[in-house]
């Protein structure tokens, strides 16, 4: 096609010696067109971010560099452009937004100054005109009170607002190409929907070509015109969005799409009548009330009540700051609450002393979100798993033997026992984390976002493992997640939390089919690519 804004020809990016493969990507051909959104999708380590950075010459040179191929933009080959030429293009002709709106802005400069910087670098406009333009930009990304935003520092803005500021900065000089590297991954689902809409609107308005890097097929379904799938550095499939999402040809694409949890409820189950394992009554937790000159106190939990029966999985769903993780920490007594009762099999742990609590500890175990930070890097896997039982009086020899059996249970080779955590992938580490939690034979498993840090295919495996273990060991589970698709797949009942309150609790099929609270409805509406899977199923059934 002739209207290509940017053409990547046969791009290869070399990794330093000792990396898992010599080339991060090889033989990548891609065309980006004006007014179109091209999604580059791939799992972590696929090299998708490096492609984005190579375009702007932002690879961490000299270790990672373009080894071969051309990046053609406005008649020049960016892979061979001089630093000064690249600087003239960056920010003006090609702009970029990043994943982490928290860290992508300089914490010491005001928002206004950082947007203004782009104009200062590339234009000779006088100060007053630049200022007017910045205000105009802040308005165009729908930031409230532009005049105040101008003087605000990044930490005074929410994640979504920061990402809006980043977009304003990127669009300041109406670039021909916008590169967005996972711009919504760090955001809440409702905020994500707004940001996606904003990128879509602005891109249509200006006819900008967009290269959108993501790992999320839902996002692809919402925003993409065309899609390219990257697997370990190889571009395995590309085509129009309808084509790739609807009739994927390559086995990898098919597997990826199949791994995305369906936004659909399981069949309604008869309500459980098993005894309660966990009852939280009127739990209150307040943060941040500091003495003398203290700031405002925030209520993290406001008279929260939840109940969980033996053998059941209760999902805690909500956005960041809704109090779902606080509640998870409260029921494990990793944190004390200000008020209320937390009954584990009828015994209130909220007021127990340390020594009273100790025997209770093993009955409730936790699986954490971050598979990198939650395992001691200096302990062997077998010791990580056996430590809990040994503390509770099991013979060390027996505990280690059992640890090896647990490894088999979570689908790891027994040889893993003698290795260290850093030798494993994220999914494997999460399996170790699950084995560690199971080692104490808990009655209640509290899983705090156990799959959020994992790729979608790995996520599916870990979810299957959790479901399998739950039925086999008759566990009860409190499952904290921000991802409604995941919640629908694993939970029997779902509690929706907003601003420290539980706004709705219902069986999974009921909450999906007939959400009552407006916030629940908003959450469902904001799920990216909410209905492409439905459409897909209908199409296949029709044909």
């Amino acid at each position: 096609m002739s209207d290509a804004v940017l053409t990547i020809e046969n791009l290869a990016i070399a990794l330093p010696k000792g990396a898992d493969r010599p080339l991060a990507v090889a033989g990548v051909n891609l065309e980006l067109h004006a007014g179109k959104v091209t999604c580059l999708i791939g799992e972590s380590g696929s090299g998708k971010s490096l492609v984005a950075r190579a375009i702007l010459g932002l690879l961490p040179a000299p270790h990672v560099r373009v080894a071969d191929g051309r990046i053609l933009f406005e008649g020049a080959d960016l892979a061979r452009a001089k630093p000064a030429e690249m600087r003239a293009i960056r920010g003006a002709r090609i702009a970029m937004i990043f994943q982490e709106p928290m860290t992508a802005l300089n914490p010491l400069h005001t928002i206004g100054r950082q947007i203004d910087e782009v104009l200062r670098i590339h234009t000779s406009l006088p100060r007053a005109q630049r200022l007017a333009r910045v205000v105009e930009l802040l308005e165009s990304v729908n930031l409230p009170e532009p005049a105040r935003m101008l003087r605000s520092f990044p930490h005074q803005l929410s994640g979504g607002q920061r990402q809006r500021a980043m977009i304003a900065m990127a669009l300041a000089l109406k670039p021909r190409l916008l590169i967005a590297d996972e711009p919504t991954t760090a955001l809440d689902v409702t905020t994500q929907a707004q940001i996606l809409q904003l990128i879509r609107d602005l891109q249509r308005e200006h006819g900008t070509a967009v290269l959108f890097i993501t790992h999320d097929f839902g996002v692809v379904a919402d925003i993409a015109d065309s899609v390219a799938v990257l697997q370990k550095g190889d571009l395995v499939e590309q085509g129009s969005a309808a084509q790739v999402l609807g009739r994927p040809v390559h086995a990898y694409t098919q597997a990826l799409i199949a791994a995305v949890p369906k936004l659909a409820a399981p069949a309604a189950q008869p309500p459980s009548t098993a005894p309660f394992i966990l009852q939280a009554r009127d739990v209150e937790k307040t943060y941040g009330a500091r003495g003398l000159f203290g700031g405002n106190a925030t209520k993290a939990l406001n008279r929260v009540c939840i109940e969980l029966r033996r053998g059941e999985t209760l999902g805690l769903v909500g956005e960041s700051g809704s109090g779902k993780s606080t509640l998870a920490r409260a029921v494990t007594r990793l944190m004390t609450v200000n008020d209320g009762e937390i009954l584990i099999s009828g015994r209130d742990i909220a007021r127990m002393t340390r020594s009273q609590l100790r025997p209770m500890r093993k009955r409730v175990q936790m699986v954490f979100q971050d598979p990198y930070g939650s395992l001691d890097p200096r302990q062997r896997v077998v010791d990580i798993i056996a430590e809990g039982p040994i503390i509770h009086g099991t013979d060390p020899q027996a505990a280690r033997k059992e640890a090896c059996e647990l490894l088999a249970l979570v689908g790891l080779d027994p040889s893993a026992a003698q290795r260290f955590a850093h030798e494993f992938s994220g999914g494997q580490r999460q399996r170790i984390g699950i084995a560690r939690a199971l080692a104490l034979r808990p009655e209640l498993l509290v899983a705090d976002e156990p799959v959020s840090a994992l790729d979608v295919s790995v996520q599916a495996q870990v979810l299957a493992l959790l479901a399998d273990i739950k039925t086999r060991l008759q566990l009860s589970m409190l499952f904290v997640t921000h991802d409604l698709r995941v919640a629908l797949q694993v939970c029997d009942r779902i509690a929706v939390m907003q601003k420290g309150e539980v706004v709705e609790v219902a069986p999974t099929s009921a909450i999906y089919g007939n959400p009552q609270h407006p916030y629940t409805k908003a959450l469902f509406a904001a799920v990216p690519g909410a209905h492409w899977q439905d459409r897909l199923t209908q199409e296949t059934m029709a044909s």
């Binding site: 970029m96 992508a104 300089n106 010491l108 930490h155």
Partner: protein, 323 residues
């Protein structure tokens, strides 16, 4: 306005701190054996027990400790630091006399260490792993490992005695009676070596901290953002990275402020600098407890004030600090 309120709050907090220091100092010093009377008696060669008793009575040393403490607190409340029998003059007067030179030495050493250390750190970080970086790292390692007093003595040998570029000791040339600029230059020449000896350790420390901090900040996302805007490398370093990296150094500078006074005792003694350090050393030697307590009190106040200033600087540098 909020800054003023914060300042008031911090000054309020300083009161119990200083009070605690006063109490602690008093009891620590009285736990040490010997008093001014025994030292005076020892120096005079022979003293009858009656004479010692008379001295003790005159100094108030024969009172019970609790009474001495009460009297001390009462005097402190009037900012009366007592009388140095050894020097035959009020403690406050002695200290104020010596405060100027000490502040001059301290501030010079402090400013030189922070500014030059940060600058070297920036230079080392921007030429990472090049000859500049290696040279600075090596030099800072040497400076790090060199004790201040030894460095002082060596400088005297080399620059004052062998090369005769700089005066060996003192604050100014005795008997020169310089006026105006001549006096300033004279004092500055006397200041060079003690200030170097006092600042070199921290200078090296800041160079290393600043280098590490710069390198850490260079890897941050906002630097990539700035690059993606088309900003030049030089502007990225000075416009974005430097201020973020400085925060670490400022934190450390607060710690250094407390150590400067302790360090100045040694350096002032080596260079015969007529400051509080020499005064403290002599007071300690002669068991002049009143004077020693007074010096402790004044140094404590200095540390509190310097820390407050450092915190204020931090607040103005970092908008994220809520005050």
């Amino acid at each position: 306005m909020r800054l003023a309120r914060y300042l008031g709050y911090r000054l309020l907090l300083a009161v119990p701190v200083i009070l605690g220091i006063i109490v602690l100092n008093f009891f620590l010093i009285h736990a040490a054996p010997g008093d001014a009377a025994s030292v005076l008696a020892g120096e005079s060669g022979a003293a009858t027990p009656e004479y010692m008793a008379l001295l003790r009575h005159k100094f108030g040393l024969d009172q019970p400790l609790s009474t001495q403490f009460a009297v001390y607190l009462l005097n402190m409340a009037h900012l009366d630091l007592g009388y140095s029998f050894r020097n035959d003059s009020p403690v406050l007067e002695l200290i104020l006399d010596r405060l100027g030179p000490t502040l001059l030495l301290m501030l010079t050493a402090f400013v030189v260490a922070v500014l030059l250390g940060s600058l070297l750190g920036v230079l080392a970080a921007s030429g990472r792993n090049g000859w500049r970086d290696n040279l600075i790292s090596l030099a800072s390692l040497v400076a790090y490992a060199t004790p201040g007093f030894w460095l002082g003595l060596m400088m005297i040998v080399v620059f004052a005695i062998n090369l005769a570029w700089l005066p060996t000791s003192g604050l100014d040339t005795v008997g020169a009676d310089n006026e105006g600029w001549d006096e300033v230059i004279d004092i500055a020449r006397h200041l060079v070596m003690p200030a170097t000896a006092l600042s070199l350790f921290y200078l090296a420390l800041y160079a290393r901290v600043m280098r590490a901090s710069m390198l850490e900040q260079t890897g941050m996302d906002y630097v990539t953002t700035a690059r993606a805007k088309g900003q030049t490398e030089r502007r990225i370093i000075f416009g974005h990275v430097l201020r973020n990296a400085l925060l670490t150094v400022v934190t450390m500078a607060g710690v250094q402020a407390g150590n400067l006074i302790g360090g100045s005792i040694v350096v002032e003694t080596v260079f015969g600098w007529p400051g509080i350090g020499t005064l403290a050393f002599n007071a300690l030697q002669s068991r002049d407890l009143n004077l020693l307590l007074g010096i402790f009190f004044v140094s404590a106040c200095l540390v509190v004030v310097v820390n407050l200033i450092v915190d204020l600087v931090y607040v103005t540098l970092d908008p994220r600090i809520e005050i």
